[in-house]
Symmetry: C2
Subunit: 446 residues, 2 copies
């Protein structure tokens, strides 16, 4: 008997990885095509960065949490490589090097697998697929609003209903932190608690935090400030934002983004939520996440990261002007789960056909006819096992073939073949010259 | 100043990996779509296996050479993982486990990146893309012929000209080896020399090989036996194949595959070449490789592997009947190089448009009009930097925008907008209700 370990490592995939079987791959193709169509319609163009890169590049601008979750290995010179945990750092690297001379804005998209050595959860395996965009070189709310509208357009285009995108502002949070005088370590503790909407934890943490009661009240209320434009005004009044110009700028930025989103006509799909202060460390401004009522995990998210590209440049000694950027990523696996929970009807595969020659002298005619039909856009399989007719038909039946084309001597002598409709069981003789028309008809009836 | 190592690891990709920029990614999308269309028209369905797997699974049935070229790392339990160097072993694993109850033949395809830690060469980076199929459960020449025809259909469908597929037979070679009485080690030396068409090396190696002069003459001639069906008859006569039933079966199998390929109408694209005895250790029968005159490396290849799926089963103690299989993979990067060497005209991106609002009161109308146009299938970017008109138009010009839609107060009051054709420089006023028609017209003229 083989050793147990051998059985596992020969026949199973590693934890957190899956074989996507044809039915699953078909759904993903549908989603990827829909995402691609939307991306391209907004003028975004595909970029493909390497599946693995130097650990140093991938960890630029990211926190320890993401760095710890990378699959790391070494090249033969001992340099650390890693599988990409997300695509933004790689695209920022490209923007900071190869795209400096390209006119801005630059619009890029990607659809690719990412890798994180985390405990697998719903829609987040260790290998998981993301679709996303990066809009590079737009400093203002116009950039945020465009990216959020593409985000919504994308998710609605695959069929998601009742989508809600919650929009927060890391820049506003950071300017409040600065004005409050608390330390960055204290701020990081508060950020996590606020982002998790952990009211109890937040209350406890605020006891020891070193700032005025007025600011404590702001931090306390952030996770519940959710709604329309009024929540931004609320926070402005709470703080007395006229005293703090940086806070004021961020508030105005968020309000402007909101107004633009209204102009895009997506106001029904958005809510401001000042409790959204996302995890990835490179965010500097607007941040957002998408949810549907049927699934409690974020389907995707994104935000503005105005320092990351510059960080790539300064880290190699070529600092320059700030290169602004906003982007998002959608979890394809999570979108799929959300669609399934909503009972979405994925498109079916098109009808397809099978050819069988009943006499070897008709092999040539059969194969050439099948080639012609494929060139016309039909999907045709051919019986290549030389089975008894009954066995071949049983196969066709199990495989959900729409109709079988039987090339028999008697019929071919009359210029015809027999077409057996596998749904109805009916068989009729069709002139060879009419096959195409006939198959089109059957395809539509279905 | 940053350290030199930092500069490299922050701004460059590891050796053998590349950033595929939009122009490059666009060509690949075109190729992948063409491959997908052909695969699906033959009834093949997509499967996606993990990017990394257990080293044990990926090295099943493969030789040391491929095992040495894998990117290997460990999971936290110390088990060896590797990036997949090719896709056949993974699909064989799936066939040996999850697909046992599925009616055969099973037709699967994949388009995905593969990874080998080799010295980079033309069209073969350390991360490189392959498209391929596996036809599972067809024992006879019908399976080989179908797979070779799909191979040719694929390569021709992306626009390759003067394609030649050389077809050899590892099974025939192995049965000659068996009949000659030489050892497997000797056979492996000869196989490599024959596959490389290294006539001098072969001559030298044959001196020490322990078999009759008659068989030496067969081995000597294998690399030059290239042409139509006659070369198979030649080898048959040379050996006196009637004495060796196993050799005879293989010769008949190759002749039958050839005859089927003639029936498929691809005889102009094939040549028998008994010197093709490909590297991967799992091949057992027909093997083949594709070339074009302009490029001296194989663009793709494949063959029959009747033992690999069974090896996965026996390795875990559940041996059973043999599960026959044939497949191929196409190097997408190499196909691209070959197309470029042939001066192939890749399809251009479709015409696209840019919208600019000249007055903030028209922002809403502009954004909503652009959304409508996108839903109709147009690609539209919008001016989101609030630049001076001249700067925005300069951007449009550099970005090859086809026409710019200017939303100005005066025109909109008349129910019109100004459309500036960036190719001709002409500007005309178009009723808002006619924009779609107008853009369609411009798109076609181009």
């Amino acid at each position: 008997m083989p050793r147990a370990n051998d059985v596992v490592t020969k026949t199973q995939t590693p934890k957190g990885t899956v074989d996507l079987m044809p039915e699953e791959a078909w759904k993903r193709q549908f989603m990827e095509r829909a995402f691609t169509r939307v991306f391209e319609s907004w003028g975004y163009q595909e970029i493909r960065t390497p599946t693995f890169e130097y650990f140093n590049a991938l960890s630029t601008g990211t926190g320890l949490e993401l760095q710890d979750s990378m699959f790391v290995f070494q090249d033969k010179a001992g340099r650390l490589l890693a599988l990409r945990p997300e695509n933004t750092a790689s695209i920022a690297r490209v923007a900071a090097t190869k795209l400096l001379a390209v006119p801005r804005p630059i619009r890029l998209y990607y659809i690719a697998p990412m890798f994180r050595y985390d405990e697998p959860q719903a829609g987040r395996q260790r290998e998981f697929w993301q679709a996303g965009i990066e809009l590079i070189g737009v400093p203002g709310a116009e950039g945020d609003a465009e990216v959020i509208t593409v985000f919504i357009d994308d998710l609605q285009s695959v069929g998601l209903k009742d989508l809600k995108v919650d929009i927060g502002h890391v820049g506003l949070f950071l300017s409040v932190v600065k004005a409050s005088g608390i330390s960055w370590d204290e701020a990081d503790v508060l950020r996590r608690l606020i982002d998790k909407k952990d009211f109890n934890g937040l209350e406890k943490a605020l006891v020891d935090v070193n700032c005025s009661e007025e600011f404590k009240e702001v931090f306390r209320r952030l996770p519940s400030l959710r709604g329309g434009k009024e929540v931004v005004n609320d926070v402005g009044e709470l703080i007395g934002s006229d005293e703090f110009p940086e806070i004021k700028v961020n508030i105005e930025n968020l309000i402007e983004a909101y107004d633009l989103l209204v102009d895009y006509g997506v106001e029904d799909s958005i809510a401001l939520d000042l409790g959204i202060v996302r995890g990835l460390d490179y965010y500097t401004g607007t941040v957002f996440e998408a949810y549907v009522p049927e699934f409690d995990l974020a389907i995707g998210g994104g935000g503005r990261y105005d320092n990351l590209i510059t960080e790539f440049r300064t880290s190699v000694g070529v600092a320059g002007e700030t290169i602004h950027a906003t982007g998002f990523s959608i979890g394809i696996d999570r979108t799929l789960i959300a669609l399934e929970k909503q009972g979405f009807g994925f498109p079916k595969r098109p009808p397809y056909f099978m050819v069988i020659w009943l006499d070897d002298s008709l092999r040539n005619l059969t194969l050439k006819t099948s080639l012609k039909l494929r060139k016309k856009g039909f999907t045709v399989i051919s019986e290549v096992r030389g089975r008894k007719l009954s066995n071949a038909l049983e196969y066709a039946n199990k495989m959900n073939v729409t109709a079988v084309l039987l090339f028999g001597k008697k019929e071919v002598e009359k210029g015809k073949i027999a077409v057996k409709n596998m749904k109805t069981g009916e068989q009729e003789e069709v002139p060879i010259s009419d096959i195409e028309k006939h198959l089109s008809k059957i395809s539509k009836v279905k």
